[in-house]
C-alpha cells in the first residue's frame, strides 16, 4: 500500500479534460462572439493568399500559352549566314556539310542549307518552243537546297516528292516548285513528268510545294538540288543554313553552331536565333511575378501580425473568461489549445477564402485575355494549409500569455 503510493502515483482524483468536439465548439463560439472583428482580422490573410495564388496561377497560365503554335515555330528556328565581310575584300564561307554537322548536335531536329542561284538572267520556261502570243518564259528565282532543307523549313508537298540525297550527289537535273512558281508556269501535277528549262538546261519537275513553315519566299521559287547547282552554276558556298531545334534547345544550339561549322574562325558566322518571344515575355512576367509574390508575402506578414494582435487583444479582453474556465476545470494547456485553435481557424478561413479569390482572379483574367486558365492543383490545396500555419504561428504568443494568467487574478477582473 505504502509502496504503491510512493511509487508511480496514480491520481486520486479524476482529471479534467476536453473532447475535440467541445474544444472546437468553444473555439468557434469564441471566434463568432465578434464576427465583424473576425472578418477584419482574416482579411489580411485573405489578401495575401489571394495574391499568391493569383500570381502563381497567372504565371502558369501565361507559361502554358507560350507553347502556342506561332511561338513554338519562332522558338525552334536558327538561321546561320556568313558575316558580310566588313571591307569587302574576302568573302566568308560555310562548309558544304554544314547540315550534317548541325544534325550531329544535340537538340537539332533538322538542318538544311539554302543558296540563291545566279542564273545569269536565264528565264524559266516549260514550253519547248516560244510562242509569241503567250508568255512562255518567266523570270523566277532559283534556289539550291540540301535535301534536308525541306524538313528544316517544314515544307509540305501538294504533289510529287522532294528530291533526295542521291539526286544531289549525282547532280540530277530535277526541281521542286513552290506553289506560286508552279501556278505561274501552269503546272498542277507531276504525273506526266513535266519538265522546265532554265536557260537551255532541262529539269524534271518532281514535286510541288503546298506550304512552308519558314522562308515563305520559297513558294515563288524553283528549288534544285545543291549538288546540281554546284555542278551547273559554280556556287562556292552555301549561303544560309536553316536549323530546326527542339523546344528550348535553340539558344544552346545557336551557341554551339559557329564552333561546329567554322572551328577555324567562329567570328565568320552570323547566327540568328530570332528574338525569342518566349524570353521577352518571360522577363516581363518574371518582374511582375516577383512584385506580386512580394506583395502577397507582405500581406501575409501583415495578416499574421493582424491575427497575432487581435488574438492578443482578445486574450486580454477575455481575462475574466480565462479565470472562469480555469475555475471550472480548464488547465493551462486547455486554455492555450483554445486560443491556438481560434487563431489557426482564422488563418485557415483566410487561406480558403484567399485561395478561392485567387483562383477567381486567374479564371477572370484568362477569360478577358482569351487564355486557358492553368492552376497547379496543389495551389488551392496548400493555400489553406499555409493560412492555417500562419494562424497557428500568430497564435502562439497570445496563447502563451493566456497560460501565464493566474486563475485568482484573472477572476478578479470584471467580466
Amino acid at each position: 500500500m505504502k509502496l504503491l503510493r510512493s511509487g508511480r502515483r496514480t491520481s486520486k482524483v479524476p482529471l479534467s479534460g476536453i473532447t475535440p468536439v467541445d474544444l472546437a465548439d468553444e473555439a468557434s463560439a469564441g471566434l463568432f462572439a465578434r464576427p465583424g472583428r473576425m472578418v477584419l482580422t482574416v482579411s489580411g490573410t485573405v489578401i495575401g493568399i489571394a495574391a499568391l495564388v493569383a500570381t502563381l496561377g497567372l504565371a502558369r497560365t501565361t507559361g502554358n500559352r507560350i507553347l502556342g503554335r506561332f511561338d513554338e515555330l519562332a522558338a525552334t528556328e536558327i538561321i546561320i549566314t556568313t558575316k558580310a565581310a566588313g571591307d569587302g575584300s574576302t568573302q566568308e564561307w560555310l562548309p558544304w556539310d554544314a547540315p550534317a554537322r548541325m544534325e550531329r548536335l544535340n537538340g537539332v531536329v533538322a538542318a538544311g542549307d539554302l543558296t540563291y542561284v545566279d542564273t545569269n538572267g536565264a528565264l524559266i520556261s516549260t514550253s519547248p518552243i516560244s510562242d509569241p502570243s503567250h508568255q512562255t518564259e518567266f523570270d523566277l528565282p532559283v534556289q539550291a537546297a540540301s535535301p534536308d532543307l525541306f524538313r528544316a523549313v517544314r515544307a509540305k508537298l501538294s504533289t510529287g516528292r522532294f528530291f533526295d540525297r542521291g539526286n544531289s550527289l549525282r547532280a540530277d537535273r530535277v526541281a521542286v516548285l513552290g506553289s506560286g512558281a508552279a501556278l505561274r508556269l501552269g503546272i498542277t501535277t507531276v504525273n506526266q513528268m513535266p519538265a522546265l528549262r532554265i536557260g537551255d538546261d532541262l529539269f524534271l519537275i518532281v514535286g510541288i510545294l503546298d506550304s512552308v513553315g519558314r522562308f515563305p519566299d520559297l513558294m515563288g521559287a524553283i528549288i534544285i538540288p545543291e549538288g546540281t547547282a554546284r555542278a551547273d552554276y559554280q556556287i562556292a558556298s552555301p549561303e544560309t543554313v536553316v536549323v530546326e531545334t527542339q523546344i528550348g534547345a535553340a539558344s544552346l544550339v545557336a551557341k554551339q553552331a559557329p564552333l561546329a561549322l567554322r572551328p577555324d574562325n567562329i567570328a565568320a558566322l552570323k547566327v540568328a536565333s530570332p528574338p525569342e518571344p518566349k524570353r521577352v515575355r518571360d522577363a516581363v512576367a518574371n518582374d511582375l511575378n516577383a512584385l506580386f509574390l512580394l506583395l502577397g508575402g507582405v500581406s501575409l506578414v501583415v495578416g499574421a501580425i493582424g491575427i497575432a494582435n487581435v488574438t492578443l487583444v482578445s486574450v486580454i479582453e477575455r481575462t475574466s473568461e480565462i479565470g472562469l474556465r480555469r475555475a471550472i476545470g480548464a488547465t493551462r494547456f486547455h486554455i492555450a489549445l483554445q486560443f491556438l485553435l481560434e487563431s489557426t481557424a482564422m488563418g485557415l478561413l483566410g487561406g480558403i477564402i484567399g485561395a478561392s479569390l485567387g483562383s477567381v482572379v486567374v479564371v477572370g483574367v484568362s477569360a478577358l485575355r482569351g487564355w486557358t486558365p492553368v492552376l497547379d492543383p496543389l495551389t488551392p490545396l496548400l493555400a489553406p494549409v499555409g493560412g492555417a500555419v500562419i494562424g497557428l504561428l500568430s497564435g502562439t504568443y497570445p496563447a502563451w500569455r493566456a497560460t501565464r494568467m493566474e486563475p485568482v487574478a484573472a477572476l478578479r477582473t470584471q467580466g
Binding site: K12, V13, S16, T19, E321, R326, I328, P407, V408, G415
Partner: protein, 228 residues
C-alpha cells in the same frame, strides 16, 4: 485536529503569505472544519482574508503553510492538474460579478460547466435545463445574459455551479452586486439547496446576509473567529 475523514473541508494551521514587499499575511494559522451539509457564512471587513480563504478552499490557490484536506484528500499532495480536476468535478463557484460569457446563451453558459469533464455531450442539455429549473430560470434558457436582471444572472451562475452535483458550493459575495430584495431571493435559493443537502460556503461583509446562514465564522486580519 479536525476530523479529516468525515469533513468536506478540513484546514489545519493554514497560512497564506503573499510574497509582496512587505509580505502580506492574508491567512494566519487557520483551523477550520466544514461538514457535509453545512451552510456557512464567512464574514469580515474588507481585506481581512475572506477571498483568500475561499480561494484556498476552492483549490484555486495553495496555502503557504499548514495542511488542507478536501473530502479526505490532502490537497497539498496534488499536482496542479489534479487540483484542476477536483475543481472541475467537486466544487461549484459563484462570484460577485457572475462571470457569465456575454456571447453565449443562458443554457450554453450552464452547459459549459461540463466542458472540462471529458463528458460526451449526450444528455448535457437536459442536465443543464434541470439545473436551470432548480433556480427557476427555464423560461430564460435562450436569452443572452445581458437581457437578464442581475439577480437572474446570478441564478444562472448558480445553476452552472450546480451542474454535476458538486460536493461544495463556494460563493464569494454572491449578493454584493444585488439590491436587498434580489439578494433575499438568492439566499432563499441557497436555503433550498441547503435543504437538499448541499454544502455551502458564502462570503459576505453584510451581517444581514450572513444571518441567513446556519453557521457563521469571522475573519479579522487573516485570523479566524467562530461567531456561532
Amino acid at each position: 485536529m479536525p476530523d479529516a475523514s468525515h469533513a468536506v473541508v478540513a484546514l489545519e494551521g493554514v497560512g497564506r503569505v503573499y510574497p509582496t514587499d512587505p509580505p502580506v499575511n492574508a491567512l494566519v494559522d487557520v483551523d477550520l472544519s466544514i461538514a457535509a451539509g453545512d451552510w456557512m457564512a464567512v464574514e469580515g471587513p474588507s481585506g481581512s482574508g475572506k477571498s483568500t480563504l475561499l480561494n484556498v478552499v476552492g483549490c484555486l490557490d495553495s496555502p503557504t503553510s499548514g495542511t488542507y484536506w478536501f473530502e479526505g484528500i490532502d490537497v497539498s499532495d496534488l499536482t496542479d492538474r489534479e487540483r484542476t480536476g477536483l475543481r472541475s468535478r467537486r466544487i461549484g463557484f459563484v462570484f460577485q460579478s457572475f462571470h457569465l460569457l456575454r456571447y453565449r446563451t443562458v443554457l450554453e453558459n450552464v452547459m459549459m460547466a461540463e466542458v472540462y469533464r471529458r463528458h460526451s455531450r449526450g444528455g448535457r442539455k437536459e442536465r443543464a435545463l434541470a439545473a436551470l429549473d432548480r433556480v427557476g430560470l427555464t423560461p430564460r434558457s435562450d436569452f443572452l445574459p445581458m437581457h437578464l436582471s442581475g439577480g437572474e444572472q446570478q441564478r444562472v451562475a448558480i445553476a452552472r455551479a450546480l451542474l454535476g452535483s458538486p460536493g461544495l458550493l463556494l460563493a464569494d459575495e454572491p449578493t454584493g452586486n444585488l439590491d436587498s430584495a434580489t439578494s433575499a431571493r438568492i439566499l432563499d435559493l441557497f436555503d433550498g439547496l441547503h435543504g437538499e443537502g448541499l454544502t455551502i460556503v458564502m462570503i459576505t461583509h453584510d451581517p444581514e446576509v450572513a444571518r441567513r446562514a446556519h453557521r457563521r465564522i469571522h475573519l479579522r486580519d487573516g485570523r479566524l473567529e467562530e461567531v456561532r
